[in-house]
């Protein structure tokens, strides 16, 4: 599955989607940090404010020799990194037809589901796979918990993502070491490896 052969077109557009509070912004900042260290032009777009309160959040990272828009247009994402199943399904139309879909199988019920006004699509996973048969599901929550902290879901997913990008593994680890607080570093480095091997 890896495409570490320099054949990906430039610029690379990675859409990170999830639920406010899951650490998507932290993930995008790590990814962007790696791309900057690798001397690419980089642009990132984040969601702040009200949407961060448990809403649907999307963060966009683009890197290449030259990047104009910080926003990925509909149908133009090379990779979607989904932190939650329903959010992955929701944002699928942003992927290229041959886009790579990597997603956490975790489900987080939105308020309309909790109140009974709507049902969580129980077939979300199969709908993702039907549209993108090569999509890669991963139980990032379990992997993070095994590494010692449920909060490392985002770093597990970064580990998985790292397999599909031609960015140096050592640089990923450098940026993690520079960014993650010391007391959480060991768990997060383990989470990164767990994602990379998932």
């Amino acid at each position: 599955m890896t495409m570490n052969n320099g054949q990906l077109p430039e610029p690379q557009s990675i859409l990170i989607v999830g639920v406010g509070g899951q650490g998507t912004i932290f993930a995008s900042r790590i990814l962007a940090g790696v791309a900057v260290r690798e001397a690419y032009d980089v642009k990132v777009s984040e969601t702040h404010g009200m949407a961060q309160r448990g809403g649907s959040v999307v963060t966009q990272v683009r890197f290449g020799s030259e990047v104009a828009s910080p926003i990925i247009a509909l149908g133009q994402a090379d990779i979607i990194l989904g932190f939650e199943k329903l959010e992955t399904l929701r944002w699928l139309p942003y992927a290229k037809d041959d886009g790579i879909i990597l997603y956490n199988t975790q489900t987080i019920n939105p308020m309309p589901v909790i109140t009974g006004a709507a049902n969580y699509p129980s077939d979300a996973g199969s709908r993702i796979q039907a549209r993108f048969p090569q999509a890669v599901p991963v139980d990032a929550l379990s992997l993070a918990q095994k590494c010692g902290t449920a909060k490392a879901v985002n770093v597990v997913l970064l580990g998985l993502l790292s397999r599909f990008l031609s960015l140096d593994e050592g640089v990923w680890l450098d940026i993690l070491r520079e960014t993650v607080p010391q007391r959480l570093l060991e768990a997060n480095l383990a989470a990164f490896q767990a994602g990379r091997e998932a």
Binding site: A32, Y40, E46, M50, R53, P70, M111, I114, R131
Partner: protein, 619 residues
């Protein structure tokens, strides 16, 4: 196209537009920064406060921020004032007259607009303010321009003796791009010379200043003709005039096969430059987010470019929207954007195919452990009319709490409640409360509370004191006892303040004591005089600052499935941690389970669970 390691030595720094604004101010020798928090502008002052050479403050509201700023600028120091678009409504009074007085040292006003209303109550286009106040407007397109334009704005401010508006939009504020950092250039404090004719705006003085303002606009229009802020790129038969973030989208969609006039200065506009540009192309498009600001000027000059006849005036002009509006243009170039994109569907329905079932939305919710949840649960149960305000607690309007009737602007809750009472009578007011947060109360609620007392109202006001400015990301305010830099300061005594304006009935309650809170509310609604109920419980996410006690974290609660009857009473508080689970075999009852990964152990659901099935794990 990776660069080699030698080139990496001159590596640039990735910054959001807001970080770059703060950096630009620091490099340009700014000494005073003032703001009131508001998405998407908040991080400007948070970053400014990290540069110790600059004084930075959270002001009580945007009007005060601009007044602090104008005082600093008239006092001779370079100044930055920042706010979100609706904040400029609050600051408009000093802004319009500051245009007449001019400044002494440079003053730049950052207006951060929010096309698409990511976190706002409207999507007004603040360029109209620049025009109405007769001051220049600059619009950066990325973080490097944010940094550079702050310096240019301050230089223009001083050269033309005017405040300058630097208009951001959410995507510029919250996008990161690479920035070349420079050093700080200290600017000596300008001399302060008393000059009442310039700074005391009596009518007689104002009449003398107005012609100077008009003449200044003419000179600025001349400057715009040759300024490097405005530039032409590319070469093609089709011409596009654009600004701000839209410039980046246009580059992405159309590549280099079109002629592009990028306007970094959008008021006053360079008429000659634009005229020449239009005449040099076959067809001209004006692509700008929100209102036809540039387009209307061009039409007034007698040209008929395409603009809002093609592109929407509502919401963000995303790349796919631009491409879909002019598919013939997109196809002529090598642009990679799918012209099949339908802008109307891009935000609302992202499903994979037309016949797929609509996905449940994911609206924002009050956080697990939020103290506001208890307040709105009680307001809902009592079926009160709720005059609401701006903050996290506005989410109390959403299902299942459904406990808010109006939210208009910062501070409107108390005045609106008084107005309802005056229109519908005191009986109506017995089921009516005003709800306002601590920071919003200080921002602009206090004056309306004075009105309630002064004009013999009976309004019951709930001040939700969660010890922070929550929605914008936990900023300090005058009720928290800390400054933007984390220094300890005087903390406003809210009960004493309410007493000082003449409120006699003041009660402090913990919203999680549901019975007591309900009792207090009923009592205060029944009495025919103004009441203030200060509802105290800190935000679970309140920032740790030295000297402040942290909110003690508690172990998550859990559900004893043997005791849960599936009554779903607990689901009425709208906590994202409580979820219904599939029934056990042979049963139809859907019991409730707790998402322990999110639960903060606040215990609100414990006190609501009649069968006592929800229990604290520690017993």
């Amino acid at each position: 196209m990776r660069m080699n390691y030698e080139e990496k030595a001159t590596m640039k720094v990735l910054m959001t537009g807001n970080e770059a604004i703060a950096r630009g101010a620091w490099e340009a020798g700014v000494i005073v920064c003032a703001a009131y928090p508001g998405t998407p502008s908040t991080e400007i002052i948070e970053n400014a406060a990290t540069y110790k050479e600059m004084y930075s403050e959270w002001s009580p509201n945007e009007k005060v921020a601009l007044e602090v700023g104008l005082g600093a600028a008239i006092g001779g120091g370079r100044t930055l004032v920042a706010m979100k678009h609706v904040g400029v409504n609050v600051a408009a009074d000093p802004l319009f007259t500051l245009s007449y007085t001019g400044i002494n040292a440079g003053l730049v006003l950052i207006s951060a607009d929010d096309p698409g209303m990511h976190s706002s109550q409207d999507e007004q286009d603040n360029r109209h303010y620049g025009r109405a106040a007769k001051i220049p407007i600059l619009e950066p397109s990325d973080s490097q321009e944010c940094l550079d334009f702050v310096r240019v704005a301050l230089e223009l401010s001083e050269e033309y003796d005017t405040p300058v508006m630097l208009r951001m939009t959410t995507r510029v504020s919250h996008s990161q791009s690479l920035v070349n950092l420079g050093e700080r250039r200290e600017i000596p404090l300008g001399p302060y010379i008393k000059n009442p004719g310039k700074y005391v705006m009596l009518p007689g003085h104002g009449r003398l200043r107005h012609p100077i303002v008009e003449e200044r606009l003419h000179k600025l229009a001349e400057y715009a003709e040759t300024s490097q802020l405005n530039r032409i790129e590319g070469k093609g038969k089709q011409g596009i005039i654009t600004n701000g973030i839209t410039y980046q989208y246009v580059r992405e969609v159309f590549g280099k096969d079109v002629s592009l006039l990028k306007l970094g200065m959008t008021y006053p506009l360079p008429r000659g430059l634009i005229t020449d540009f239009i005449q040099s192309v076959d067809t001209c498009y004006v692509i700008e987010e929100l209102d036809p600001f540039i387009e209307d000027h061009i039409r007034a000059w007698g040209f008929s470019p395409h603009g809002k006849d093609v592109f929407p005036a509502i919401g963000e002009l995303l790349p796919e929207t631009i491409a879909a509006c002019v598919p013939h243009l997109t196809q002529e170039t090598s642009a990679p954007v799918s012209a099949a994109a339908d802008p109307a569907s891009s935000k609302t329905n992202r499903e994979t195919s037309d016949d797929a079932p609509v996905l449940p939305g994911r609206p924002p919710v009050l956080c697990p452990g939020c103290p506001h949840r208890a307040v709105f649960y009680v307001l809902n149960r009592l079926k009160l009319t709720v005059s609401g305000d701006i903050g996290c607690y506005t989410l109390g309007a959403l299902a299942p709490l459904n406990a808010m009737d109006t939210t208009i602007c910062m501070g409107a809750s108390i005045g609106a409640a008084l107005g309802m009472e005056k229109a519908r009578g005191k009986d109506f007011a017995r089921n009516l409360v005003a709800v306002i947060g601590d920071s919003t109360f200080v921002h602009s609620g206090i004056t309306a509370l004075i009105d309630v007392v002064y004009n013999r109202g009976t309004t019951t006001t709930l001040i939700l004191d969660n010890s922070t400015t929550g929605m914008t990301g936990h900023q300090e305010n005058p009720t928290t006892g800390f400054t933007v830099g984390g220094e300890v300061t005087v903390q406003i005594d809210l009960p004493l303040l309410a007493k000082a304006v003449g409120v006699k009935r003041i009660v402090e309650v913990d919203p999680f004591d549901l019975d007591h809170f309900t009792e207090v509310l009923k009592t205060e609604l029944a009495v025919e005089e103004p009441s203030v109920i200060i509802v105290r419980r800190p935000c679970v996410l309140v920032r740790p600052v030295s000297g402040r006690s942290k909110v003690a974290s508690q172990p998550p609660v859990s559900v004893d499935a043997d005791l849960c009857t599936g009554c779903a009473q607990c689901l009425r508080i709208g906590c994202p941690c409580l979820v219904k689970i599939e029934p056990e075999t042979g049963s139809k009852i859907r019991k409730v389970s707790v998402d322990a990964s999110q639960c903060t152990g606040c215990g609100l659901c414990v006190s609501l669970c009649r069968p006592q099935a929800i229990v604290r794990k520690d017993g």
